[in-house]
Point group: C2
Chain length 312, copies 2
């Protein structure tokens, strides 16, 4: 038998889904959200859960063979200070496809004016609003990691021209043109859509500031699915209020939940979604574990294997 | 020089775009929306325009080498009663991609509740509305012609399971399962999304009737981009009012424009777009002509060539 510990803030949902599956060869030892409940040297080969919690029990589970995380980000586990003598798999591709659905849902709503048409309908107006095809429009991806690459994949499907801004990597073949470091403003020029997927680091803080926003065409739509800290919200509101930007779809904010008195709520052409662009549906994440457990049993290569050295 | 006649209801836009291009080797003889203005035996190798108008001048332009139509439908020209001794190209792929943008814009709006979130935002509510990924959901395509095939292509991109109902053809490899003739109700069963692309014929009249709607799951979203006559609107409203269908996105109607007193306007969960799912943007259509003219000059195979015998 393979002994499993579930260690996640959503341990109730995960254990209920996994117990229902009645996976042969699997013994669920414990499901909890509290690393303190796991005793040293518990017989356990597999842990399924949240990376920051798992980090806290890495050293007390010597028999560990495989860790499946519930998120894409595995920073706490690839840290060189902790052990790497097990197989680590994450949930990266789930988020790519969910983010892609979100981003293209909102791009298409903007492009086809779905909300505007809905409001016309309420007034009983048979209205013909013009539009162009997405084909040949330019999308800029600020950050081309796992999520950015998935967005590039969908953008190519719709015939968009894809500009990608990254620190260094150029792994996605769906990106038509890469930009690095000092080329940020060249990257911004001529974009119809800008999607930010950058994480919160010193280098990305307010990368989207007044100067950067000034380089975007006035008809550009900005979408932020990275971190709130990457955008100077004051500069963003200024650009939107003065018509220098067509709209902003914001899933993340400098302060979350977005305070009720924050003027972003009522800034023209802002659509607010509340950090829900790619929430981790427990069923979806559990499915990754279940699929990977089958592979583990059959000694097949696991999906979404993380390279500890590369860090992803 | 290659003599061109533009014969279209949008002749002004087309001629303005094409004149601006200053295509070497092209001589624009006439641009009009009136076939009566074209004299018999005018020196003309190329006609760019609307199929029903072109049909009226086919026999008086003996030097005709190539016809580029502005729409996908070329029924008047593939008719066995008229000449077929020239190359015929249509605008089919334009509509496929435009329709795909429309259909997936509305599928994603429904799935991610974009309008609902917008209405929440107006009330200043930070709301977390759940959703699942599109992956593995089932889409049914009623009709798998050029447009249906393009929808299947995009559906596959998003990981949907694609069911296709057709008279006979099974050309799209993006369709996971084909259904024919008496299998209509089997086709309908289990669908999360149903898209109708069927044209108006005797066989398709009210194909979506009370009985058919009864076979769809209550959570199914119906989209009609084919013809209005394919849906029994009374039965549709009954299904929507009684919660037996989650929603309907309607671009076409039994009577257009949809009369202001038609109860569809206010039926719950109906989104009405006014026969604009894939309007022919003159620039987009002109680009097909321009690209094909280059191919024509270089003696390369033309894009979107129609097979007269097959009729598409």
């Amino acid at each position: 038998m393979n002994n499993l510990i579930i260690l996640s803030s959503k341990y109730k949902q995960y254990s209920s889904i996994i117990i229902q599956e009645k996976l042969p060869g699997l013994n669920l030892v414990l499901a909890t959200d509290d690393p303190g409940k796991i005793r040293k040297d518990t017989a356990c080969e597999i842990v399924f859960g949240d990376a920051p919690l798992i980090r806290q029990v890495l050293e007390i589970l010597p028999g560990l063979q495989w860790v499946q995380t519930t998120w894409a980000g595995v920073e706490p586990l690839v840290d060189p200070l902790v052990r790497h003598d097990y197989q680590l798999t994450n949930a990266r591709h789930v988020f790519g496809s969910l983010m892609s659905e979100y981003v293209f849902g909102y791009i298409l709503q903007h492009h086809r004016r779905i909300i505007e048409r809905y409001l016309s309908q309420k007034k009983g107006i048979w209205v013909e609003i013009g539009y162009e095809s997405l084909q040949g429009k330019k999308i800029g991806l600020l950050g081309v990691g796992s999520i950015g690459s998935h967005l590039a994949f969908t953008a190519s499907h719709f015939g968009l021209y894809v500009k990608g801004y990254t620190i260094s990597s150029q792994t996605s073949t769906d990106v038509d043109e890469y930009f690095h470091e000092s080329q940020l403003y060249k990257f911004a020029s001529g974009l119809d859509f800008l999607v930010n997927t950058l994480p919160n680091t010193d280098a990305t803080y307010h990368i989207i500031n007044e100067e950067f926003l000034g380089k975007l065409p006035a008809h550009c739509l900005l979408l932020n699915i990275g971190r709130g800290s990457t955008i100077d919200e004051i500069a963003l509101m200024k650009a939107l209020n003065s018509g220098k930007l067509a709209g902003a779809v914001l899933d993340v904010f400098e302060k979350e939940p977005l305070p009720l008195d924050n003027p972003l709520w009522k800034t023209p052409n802002v659509l607010i979604t509340s950090h829900t662009a790619a929430h981790s549906d427990p069923h979806f994440i559990a499915d990754i574990f279940i699929e990977n457990f089958g592979r583990y049993l059959r000694n097949q290569p696991l999906n979404n294997l993380v390279n500890f050295k590369k860090g992803y």
